[in-house]
């Protein structure tokens, strides 16, 4: 196997591995932070809506629905639903299938005043839901349910795949370039060594061996010099080899 191939086999996977590792970190970190942002958006909408309604709304008051529709106009939420304790709809800004009941509330959820479910795909939509508990003026329990679009996760996913492809391509280029550069420089030094060895082989013991800025190559060159000096003294200068003959 040639030096170039050996370096290529070593360095290309090294850089590709590093790029893969970095890409994985980039992918995981960015998707996690994007998910966090969407959770904050959904939970803020659900929790803020619930706090403004909490303890002060009448279930039959039309102002509530008007306000919920006004929130929709800001295009932050996709759907707002107020359900009672039996999961019956009180207000819903859209018609259609009712999202599932809120998962059971943990003490932590109740303390922070909201609960967010992971993004789920519904047809072509990726949706994230947030729930926040509240009471009406009479003390009856309700849940404010907000749906937001989580398509930024899909957009980010696509963008990250493009970036990962670019990073991997860059790593491949650097790995190949570096392998060729190093192999080329070593190859040059080694060729001089081979030439020096051939001179010794041909009986030209007085010829100087190759020198290099790399110690091992230089040492090998020195060793060839040493060997040729010793051979010159032991065998004599006129000793053509079988090969040269």
């Amino acid at each position: 196997m040639k030096l170039g191939s050996q370096f290529m086999i070593a360095f290309v996977p090294l850089f590709l591995g590093l790029a893969l590792f970095i890409s994985a970190v980039m992918y995981i970190t960015q998707l996690r932070e994007c998910r966090w942002g969407l959770e904050e958006q959904a939970s803020s909408l659900a929790m803020a809506t619930a706090r403004y309604l909490d303890g002060r709304f009448q279930p039959d008051a039309p102002a509530v629905e008007t306000t919920l529709r006004r929130i929709l106009e800001w295009e932050s939420a996709q759907r707002l639903i107020l359900v009672d304790a039996d999961h019956a709809v009180i207000y819903d800004t859209h018609t259609g299938e009712l999202p599932p009941r809120p998962p059971s509330w943990s003490a932590e959820d109740l303390t922070q005043g909201y609960l967010v479910t992971p993004a789920q795909r519904h047809g072509s939509n990726l949706l994230m839901r947030a729930y926040s508990p509240l009471q009406d003026a009479a003390g009856q329990r309700y849940t404010m349910l907000v749906e937001i679009s989580a398509t930024p996760l899909d957009d980010l996913h696509r963008r990250l795949l493009r970036e990962i492809a670019i990073i991997m391509a860059a790593a491949l280029c650097i790995g190949i370039g570096l392998a060729r550069l190093l192999a080329g420089r070593l190859h040059h030094s080694m060729r001089e060594l081979v030439e020096a060895a051939r001179q010794v082989e041909a009986g030209h013991y007085h010829r100087a061996g190759a020198t290099s800025h790399i110690r091992e190559i230089n040492d090998l060159g020195d060793t060839l010099n040493t060997m040729s000096s010793v051979l010159e003294e032991v065998i004599g200068p006129a000793a053509p080899s079988d090969h040269s003959a």
Binding site: L18, C34, E40, S43, E163, I174, V194, E201, I214
Partner: protein, 443 residues
């Protein structure tokens, strides 16, 4: 002419690869950091936008402006202001949101007054609270954004801005309408840059921590790669040394990398040619002068490679110096000699002390530092005794004892260490065989 300071192949490879790895990791790390920061800031934008728009949707601008009537009565007092039902009814849900959603400020204001804005309801705790009618100047960019918001009816989210009194903030200003749909007030949501920085810093540490780890792993891998490339060169070097020392029996078999294959072929051909010519030259070749010349050449070659190791402890230094004076250990690199000095044990034997009985196997190599060793019949032993006996597991021919007159101080190198050393430093084997040839050549 040889370069002044040739560098080891491993270091040469690492010097080329590590900067490339580091630069690649750094650039990728910076890209990740910037991307993550953008995603985090985008998340904060979503949050303050959601809270601001929800607040604006629930509030009526005229109702908000009405609280200005309370200003003279409450005289900028926190308690007295919050005791007013009209104020508290609007402030209570805002306060709950502020506490539960980990934002810095939530408030309402209107444009105008002697400065830029006039505060209406503020959900902040007492130490940060702005009383009704409190006026404030806004940074230019923020004021322009709010004015733009007034005409467009859209929410405005600022970049991170420096507020004189409040520090670095990211602000969302959302227009609040009255029942006629007129924009007469704004809901403001601020998040302190520290919250963003803390989150970004955590991402930064994770990114660069993992990047550093990846770099370390990549560095170790490239070290391993460098070692793999170095090994065949070393093998050839020792092969050439063996040929120079007159050992022609071992065929070299270095085929990888292919560039060294031609060199291997040349060396093997030289070895083969010399092997055939050996009967003609052997008498000349075992001449002690020639052997000394080989040793000197090898010694000079090895000496030129490495400087002596610094900071040796005194006792180790003494053993090191002793070994460096003693052929064939003088062929070794200082670093190799130091390792042997560390492994060696020093013993002093009184005159005539029996060290090994006849017929027993030797357990160590003896390197005499002072005095000498001798057989029971008085025959003096060489200063390095007895590498071949150790290698071949030969028992002592006679009792070995310290000099009957001087005693002996010796360095002991255990059998297992001796085998390891021979394996790691083949030039020692060359030296031992050269010494043996030289000894046998003497009449």
């Amino acid at each position: 002419m040889a370069p002044a300071n040739p560098i080891p192949l491993q270091r040469w490879i690492l010097r080329s690869v590590m900067p490339a790895l580091a630069l690649f990791t750094l650039l990728a790390g910076l890209h990740i950091y910037r991307s993550v920061e953008r995603v985090i800031i985008d998340g904060f934008d979503r949050k303050i936008y959601a809270i601001g728009t929800t607040t604006a949707s629930f509030l009526d601008a005229d109702e908000l402006l009405d609280v200005l009537d309370l200003a003279p009565a409450v005289e900028e007092d926190y308690q007295r202001t919050h005791e007013k039902d009209r104020y508290e009814a609007l402030a209570a849900p805002m306060r709950a949101i502020l506490e539960q959603k980990d934002i810095t400020y939530l408030y309402t204001f209107k444009l105008g007054g002697e400065k830029d804005i006039i505060y209406l309801i503020d959900a902040s705790p007492e130490e940060d609270w702005c009383p009704i009618g409190y006026e404030e100047e806004l940074p230019e960019q923020n004021l322009a954004g709010v004015q733009q918001s007034l005409t467009s009816g859209r929410a405005f989210i600022s970049d991170v801005l420096d507020f004189d009194h409040w520090g670095l903030l990211k602000v969302a200003s959302v227009p609040v309408r009255n029942s006629e749909g007129e924009i007469r007030a704004f809901a403001g949501v601020d998040v302190n840059i520290d919250l963003i920085r803390n989150k970004t810093r955590a991402a930064l540490f994770q990114t660069f921590g993992i990047g550093g780890l990846a770099l370390l792993l990549a560095g170790l891998l490239s070290l391993w790669i460098a070692q793999r490339v170095t090994q065949p060169v070393k093998t050839l070097k020792y092969g050439a040394l063996r040929i120079a020392a007159g050992q022609y029996h071992e065929t070299l078999d270095v085929r990888t990398p292919a560039e060294l294959g031609a060199l291997t072929d040349s060396l093997n051909h030289i070895r083969h040619t010399l092997q055939k010519r050996l009967p003609e030259t052997s008498d000349q070749f075992i001449d002690p002068v020639q052997q000394e010349q080989i040793r000197t050449l090898l010694h000079n070659l090895e000496q030129s490679e490495t400087p002596p190791p610094p900071d040796l402890p005194a006792d180790e230094r003494a053993r090191f110096d002793q070994l460096r004076r003693q052929p064939p250990f003088n062929l070794l690199r200082p670093s190799e000699c130091r390792l042997i000095a560390q492994a060696a044990q020093e013993r002093t034997y009184p005159p005539g002390h029996r060290i090994c009985s006849a017929g027993k196997l030797l357990k160590a190599l003896f390197v005499v530092a002072e005095g000498h060793l001798e057989y029971a019949d008085g025959q003096r032993l060489p200063p390095v005794h007895a590498p071949v006996d150790l290698l071949m597991d030969l028992p002592a021919e006679q009792d070995i004892r310290a000099s009957a007159t001087q005693g002996a101080r010796v360095l002991l190198i255990s059998k297992s260490h001796f085998f390891t050393i021979l394996n790691e430093c083949p030039e020692l084997a060359i030296g031992f065989s050269a010494s043996r040839l030289s000894t046998e050549a003497q009449p």
